[in-house]
Symmetry: C2
């Protein structure tokens, strides 16, 4: 190891993930050097306040508030500050100085990824961000490299551990959303302000990144339809469960090629029913998984821990070692392809099955009238099941109708639901949920 | 696309996978060119007999029996002939001529991989083989690149679809091995001579490759302990099922660091009990999956189709596009690291839980005598369950004892079983199986 080169690594941010990255860079220096072909020297850690207590004990002299100077002197820059600025400017400075950049900043990538990718391509440096989607799970590299000779047709991802934990709690205990959220907060799976998770914003940023890589076209957050889980009720979950489904918040990117709906990519995040036997249905608690359908490969699933300091640090270090190998061997930085020019479609172009729950009057002919409305709107019914609730004197108290449709467009479904609501025999529409995996 | 370079691709072999690779190279030429940055021209297909009928209609003029000439004129060589020779010599010729090589030849890699890797390193060309393990599932690249900053501690793989199909059939229908094998042969999941699959040889070759990449050390087939599924009985499976387990043929590579057993890597293939709630337990039919435990990333699983012409072609083409990108951008070929010097351990160093089924006499004190033998041999019992079978007159016909141990060494277990067999109260030892995932 006499002639081994040293590469300077600047770390920006020292939160949950950053602190673990720093620890591993120091503790595992020898193994990382062997794998990279270069000594990876942590040259400094830029933070807002040097005196903030950290999760991990780290040498005090590494800390600095001067991120600019640190970045300008680095071969490799790891950005784990989060947020748009100053992360964006610092990454651009690093790229312009010829440093390779590793980031986990999904919000920045979803908002301004295209600028960053172009700058990195121009400078011939590598910009990698495996940690931005599904934490420890190697998913971006397999999509970009391993599937580069195939055509991905659909990606379904459980990419937010907080919402998966909440939905899983609701499913297993029958809890309402608010109670499951409180439990998640108590256990540290949800933040005090859970908006970004429960409204689906975090998943939407990841959906934009997954769609961009899967379809070789750059999609931003604006292209993603987003609906969170705050309106999912214990009754929705119980009713789905009875019908053999589980409700998951899915990030979906799929190729649509239809004469009515248009051709392009539908990118969306919404609560979705999955049959209990679907591989994604078994993803419990705070775990993440991404299910990919490709023309040749068929169905693939990638499963693992989606968050947490140490697991996410694993993804960051994988990117770092790969970038270091490239630098040592003198290879090119550019490995992304964005040769596609497919448009992003709105939610109206999505074409899925729907699950509809109705509270109806028990009158002769109700089923026929409802079925007629579905047919008129071009929505084909796959399963219709009526449950009658009677009181102790066997008089009908209410009737519940559950319908699973064949694939239909969002617009046709919306028109159907509107028309059904207008029927005098309908007391209420209790659920309208999308179904995948059937 | 005016100045696009053309890379000549030689295909060696045109079986199930090769024919699909050729079809995709021709049909998807435009997309592959966009992703590679070069036109990938299929310059020829070397076969033993030009007139053999193929699964796919391909231009007759592409076929040749002169593999040598074809290879010498290629930029990229895809080897899908299988077997040791002439595959080995042709790959070496390709490497020495500066061509990048993509192969799916697990037998060759497991037997003589080190020579091939070294020659490729020397020549600065890329040798990739994603298709050799778990067909369509991107598993080698994630291990090599994405987990390069982590330390893998254990790999458990269902890497042979034939045996998984057979065990799954036995589990769901109660069939004996011979009947499930016949069904697999009827459906095309098993070959007329199923030896390589059912004796575990195919899985052992894949275990050697997985172990080499996971532990940065070159292991060959000789380092792998191998036990197939021919001795697994319907009774073993029923008994395991009753206890909450499923039996899978696992390829296992794990780090052992023990004062008694030694330090190194245990690489082995054998029928293994897994708890029904383990993610690998849900891998049904001919699907494959690889479960990885890493120090930082935690638990990861990769799931998909392990065989079949089209799925495996996806893996071959992913490697081909990646190699082409490297050639176009002028990067280095070498991306593998074998910096480790850890020894392969024999099966005696493995340290797992065991499941033992005993047919015992129903006498007072039997349990105590058996427990005493386990304790004497240093094998700790986790669960012991006795089931008494009585005839119609309520007389005891037989008693069945099921024992799950804590982790113990192979040697301690073997000594325990020998000593138990010597007891006069033991009618027979009905099962001795290893358990993982508890």
């Amino acid at each position: 190891m006499s002639e081994v080169r040293t590469l300077k690594v600047a770390l920006l941010g020292c939160g949950n993930v950053g602190a673990q990255v720093a620890r591993i860079l120091i503790d595992d220096a020898e193994a990382l050097a062997a794998r990279s072909g270069a000594r990876l020297e942590l040259s400094g850690i830029a933070v807002r306040n040097v005196d903030t207590p950290r999760d991990v004990e780290l040498p005090r002299e590494l800390f600095t508030t001067d991120a600019d100077t640190l970045v300008k002197d680095a071969d490799l820059v790891i950005e784990l500050m989060g947020g748009i600025e100053p992360a964006r400017s610092l990454i651009l400075t690093a790229i312009q100085n010829g440093a390779c950049v590793v980031t986990g900043n999904k919000a920045l990538l979803a908002q301004d990824g295209p600028t960053l990718y172009e700058e990195a391509d121009k400078a011939g440096v590598q910009l990698s961000y495996e940690a931005a989607v599904a934490g420890a799970i190697p998913i971006l590299r397999p999509i970009r490299d391993s599937l580069s000779g195939d055509r991905i047709t659909r990606v379904l991802g459980i990419v937010n551990g907080t919402t998966n934990f909440i939905l899983d709690q609701m499913d297993s205990t029958g809890a309402q959303f608010a109670d499951a959220l409180a439990e998640a907060q108590r256990l540290g799976y949800a933040e005090a302000d859970p908006t970004a998770d429960v409204e689906g914003h975090d998943a939407a940023a990841k959906a934009a990144i997954l769609a961009s890589l899967s379809f070789h076209t750059r999609f931003s957050l604006d292209d993603v339809y987003c609906e969170g889980i705050t309106k999912v009720s214990a009754e929705d979950i119980a009713s789905a469960k009875e019908a053999g489904f589980v409700i998951k918040l899915l990030a979906i990117a799929e190729k649509i090629d239809s004469s009515d709906l248009g051709s392009g990519i539908s990118v969306r995040v919404h609560p979705t029913l999955l049959p209990r036997e679907h591989p994604l249905a078994a993803v419990r608690g705070a775990f993440n998984a991404v299910f990919i359908e490709a023309e040749n490969a068929g169905e693939l699933m990638f499963y693992g821990q989606g968050a947490g300091g140490t697991p996410t640090a694993s993804a960051v270090l994988g990117d770092l070692v790969s970038a270091a190998r490239r630098l040592v061997l003198g290879g090119p930085g550019r490995t992304e392809t964005t040769t596609g020019h497919v448009p992003a479609l709105t939610i109206d172009a999505s074409n899925t099955s729907y699950y509809i729950g109705l509270d109806v009057a028990d009158q002769a002919g109700v089923l026929a009238r409802i079925a007629h409305i579905f047919a008129e709107n071009g929505v084909s019914i796959e399963i219709m099941r009526q449950t009658i609730h009677r009181d102790s004197a066997s008089k009908v108290e209410s009737a519940e109708l559950k319908i699973v449709t064949h694939r239909a467009s969002e617009a046709a479904l919306a028109a159907t639901v509107e028309a059904v609501k207008g029927l005098d025999v309908i007391n209420s529409v209790t659920s309208v949920l999308r179904v995948e995996g059937v």
